[in-house]
Point group: C2
Chain length 344, copies 2
Amino acid sequence: MMAKGVVTIKDLADELGIAPSTVSKALRNNPAISEETRKKVNDLARRMNYKPNAIALSLRSNRTKTLGLVIPEIVHHFFSLVIAGIEDLAYDAGYNMIIFQTNESYNREVIGVQTLLASRVEGILISLSKETRNYDHLRNALDQGIPMVMFDRVTSDLETDKVTVDDYHGAYMAVNHLIRTGCRRISHLSGPPGLPIADLRRMGYSDALRDNNLEVNRDLIMYCDNFKQARIRTKQLMNMTQPPDAFFTVNDLTATGVIKSLLELAIPIPQQVSVIGFSNDELSQVTHPALSTVDQHGYQIGQASIQLLLDRLMAQGAALPFIHHVIKSELILRDSTRISILSE
Amino acid sequence: MMAKGVVTIKDLADELGIAPSTVSKALRNNPAISEETRKKVNDLARRMNYKPNAIALSLRSNRTKTLGLVIPEIVHHFFSLVIAGIEDLAYDAGYNMIIFQTNESYNREVIGVQTLLASRVEGILISLSKETRNYDHLRNALDQGIPMVMFDRVTSDLETDKVTVDDYHGAYMAVNHLIRTGCRRISHLSGPPGLPIADLRRMGYSDALRDNNLEVNRDLIMYCDNFKQARIRTKQLMNMTQPPDAFFTVNDLTATGVIKSLLELAIPIPQQVSVIGFSNDELSQVTHPALSTVDQHGYQIGQASIQLLLDRLMAQGAALPFIHHVIKSELILRDSTRISILSE
DNA sequence: GAAGCTATTTCAATCGATTGCAGCCTTCTT
DNA sequence: AAGAAGGCTGCAATCGATTGAAATAGCTTC
């Protein structure tokens, strides 16, 4: 049975000795078809396990029920959370997701977007690669009328819906908490300048200091966003004549490097030095002491992004205003920071 | 310019006053077309930013250049590594990936596979959900001639290519190392019975004990595979009159729970108690002490899986033998285990 | 000048499904 | 008994691109 591979409407028609168009109408419950024929067709379709060819349907309807996702790296807890959020809602709305990872390469991002366009995705979700400075590939997509939502790594050069976390405010809250618990020399291990999320977090850090009448000391700010570098930088910083009494890092992995180095130096956390990361990765609950951090709510970012895209698809090209949805970040206090000692 | 949306071959033909078939042949460098026409067509195509409609091509050629991936959860370091391995090679081979996550639900797995079939993917990569006991949805796909590769969570009920990590051997190596470094009462925190990867790791544990003439003590084996439970179980076990001197856990997150509890109990690691996890997640280098573990090589598993699938697609349905590719696991020794003290 | 060649181009069918319209067959009406 | 009406079914075009076959134009040759 069914050695021929895939069953088409024509196969059903031939089997029953009727026209393909009749079969099609019967399957779609067109009222012009008699009850008898309808039943015959449906029965046979079930028996032969007929499934409509989505490709043919797409060609005819010009709808692919497919969305494209372009993402820097899947192997990041944050991004995989975003993907999960997107997947879950896309699935409920009956959309397939084609996923491209750019590995932070601009070239792959361009090719990815082009491939998605060739596949006739109905919409695109994208988080920009670290290298991306030119947006022609995205303008191209927008010109073709493909709706787009940028999330997390966005640019103000394009008019699209956007979803970001309030990096600035998250950083501000974190640093403010450090100050309120008595820290005065707070070091910041930051991401590369020019990367918006890193810049925003650095600004939040600086502004929190200023608002508390603390000077921003450039010697305490380093560009360092991974575990290995953090190990080195921490020891350098702790060797200063006036070492920091707290670290605020651009991500959790960097913070774990700080913690590890501090433990090796036998510096008590948080009694002598406090540490706050950023992301609330899985690993933040696992360190000793458990890491205080800022939750980015990746799953919600994913959900908000796909929701904006679905809304726009629903609107059928009606001119909805562009929305920039800012997801609230949340300060998660664990054991790498002191309990608030200053109350106002 | 280009307000009409997407450019088709017919648009080019109308613009030049020639037939669509001529345009098509010119674009594909058919020798029957004059140099002059070819140039005119290619120039216009570039100017109007013509891109062939992949849907139409798929319908005609019956090739979608798309593969399907069904995976329990994206938000797992191991699985995201696998996806990355798959993505990278699929991309190089010119294939798109449609991804479905089942969230460990059998129903979603069935729907996912059916959707992939409707989308006419050319092949399927799948890691079974924890619930899956019936394989009709997969047999269905195989009957339609869709090649399939199962990875990590596989079943012997189906004849397909498979890629797994040598869980048994990894566990055996881990426990053997514990014994060689002097541990005698080794507890195992295991995954649910019936889940092949958990069963294999438990067997590796038991066999290593037996081969070293140690008894398998059922009191030291617990079903516990997450951080929270591990915190509780560890304290229970350490309260025994003869507490364990080592823990081997089914995954890294569980191991981090053990470490945290031991630290709280002020039990020195590895001097009094050793710990080995399984996976080599990002978090294993982050604990204090850094966690010894077994690397599953997720990225390679992904690469091996997609390679098997691509090979089969290349073979054009020729009857290749089914391959079960077992990826070597690797014991990663960090600071939660002692240095080998017994040499033979 | 008619037949034959060659170089180009167009026609038409195809992939699988959908759908407005035409057409056929019954049956009812007058 | 002829014509109208209504119920079903089939025809053909369509979506975008490809490709073998047919057609056309231009040119040579005897």
